[in-house]
Symmetry: C2
Subunit: 256 residues, 2 copies
Amino acid sequence: MLKISSLNLNGIRAAHRRGFKDWIAQSNPDIICLQELRAMEHQVPGPIQSLNYHAFYHTAEKKGYSGVGILSREEPISVQDGIGVDWIDQEGRVIMAEYTDLTVFSIYAPSGTTGDARQELKMEFLDVFLPFAHQHLEGDKPVVFCGDFNICHRPIDIHNPKRNKNTSGFLPEERKWVSLLLDTGFEDVYRRLHEGEPDLYSWWSYRAASKERNKGWRIDYHMTSPELLDAAEEAVIEKDWDLSDHAPVTISYNLG
Amino acid sequence: MLKISSLNLNGIRAAHRRGFKDWIAQSNPDIICLQELRAMEHQVPGPIQSLNYHAFYHTAEKKGYSGVGILSREEPISVQDGIGVDWIDQEGRVIMAEYTDLTVFSIYAPSGTTGDARQELKMEFLDVFLPFAHQHLEGDKPVVFCGDFNICHRPIDIHNPKRNKNTSGFLPEERKWVSLLLDTGFEDVYRRLHEGEPDLYSWWSYRAASKERNKGWRIDYHMTSPELLDAAEEAVIEKDWDLSDHAPVTISYNLG
DNA sequence: CTTACTATG
DNA sequence: CATACTAAG
């Protein structure tokens, strides 16, 4: 069994203070895909650097901003940073680690909540991401894109679909993009293992006690090639941990 | 009896969180001279605005920076902001309140610790302050200049005089300036009521647990006209309160 | 609301 | 070390 977690940390230093190491010790994933490090590599807390994981980071040029990483028990065959578009790669939003049996990505799509300019860049990211993802889907290894896509797919994935129908993250064009991804070969494994189950979210605003009232959004995904859906045995959102405003999305795959 | 307190708040919002109102309720000064508000007037916490004091503030133009104020039970006859020099008045460092029986100033001298440019401006402030103070000393009312002068006068006023002999705040030219002030008619009332007593400080760095080890500096003063020295009955530094990195310097005057 | 950053002390 | 600010989410 291969246990893979995806977690937006909202600052790896803050997450460390909130018990990131305890969560790792208890959940013990084989691979952890991280988003929003909000730190340079040298700023990663020592205790995290000392963990018994191989660690790879692709950080933003801007201090305290964005950044993705992959931690794994097994040493990857190769690691690759970025997606090949300058502005995206300067923001540290894509990292890949290739292993013997599968290829893993940690993805952090831009947020569009701060204005039109960023929303346009978010759509540009999605446009660039789609062929990039398909290119890797057509490789001969199983592939999983873990991460914070900053999009809720369907009404069931958000606590208040009506109120948010014009909100970045739940816009029709964003939701269609997820549908397109799923219609062209990818599987939203967490949802496939929890079809029709409401109130399952991976992010809650820090404002207005959203988490305790479970007023959340499901915006963190494992988007996989079909064989990984077949391999998936258990998918959980570990919302009992308060490591950041997101919860770890953890899936156990039986790769036979 | 007239009880006057001087307190550098290091942010009136932070001081409010740390119990500023409780201190007022317990110490109950008639007049409170405040320094380092670090807030615009509209940012002063509501509970402080609701106190049974007349309140006057002279804030800096720069947000979150400097600013002085005077609170008093009695309504002043007049209030005046500033000292008449643009850069000083833009930094909110001087406010005066005139009462029937005396005139009170709240003074916040610049710090020179951030570099040569600021040290030069500190000396310029002191140069401007001296004639300003004497002009008011020669009025017909008792006068008190309360505040953070950012200078330790003598070795007894600092925990480590040798180590700090080249440190801004204990430089020879700064110490001489205080001596000049005292040689030309002003009284350092707190010291006059505690002659020769060591280890009496009004500020402790937040670093290195300075306060619990009493590694402090006495940089907050009541500088008064001679009749107020005669009137002073009790002078205390209220160091049991942790309202900021400074302690209130509180003196009770018997104005007969 | 929370995490970063930066300036100031 | 602590308090503000700002940008970002």
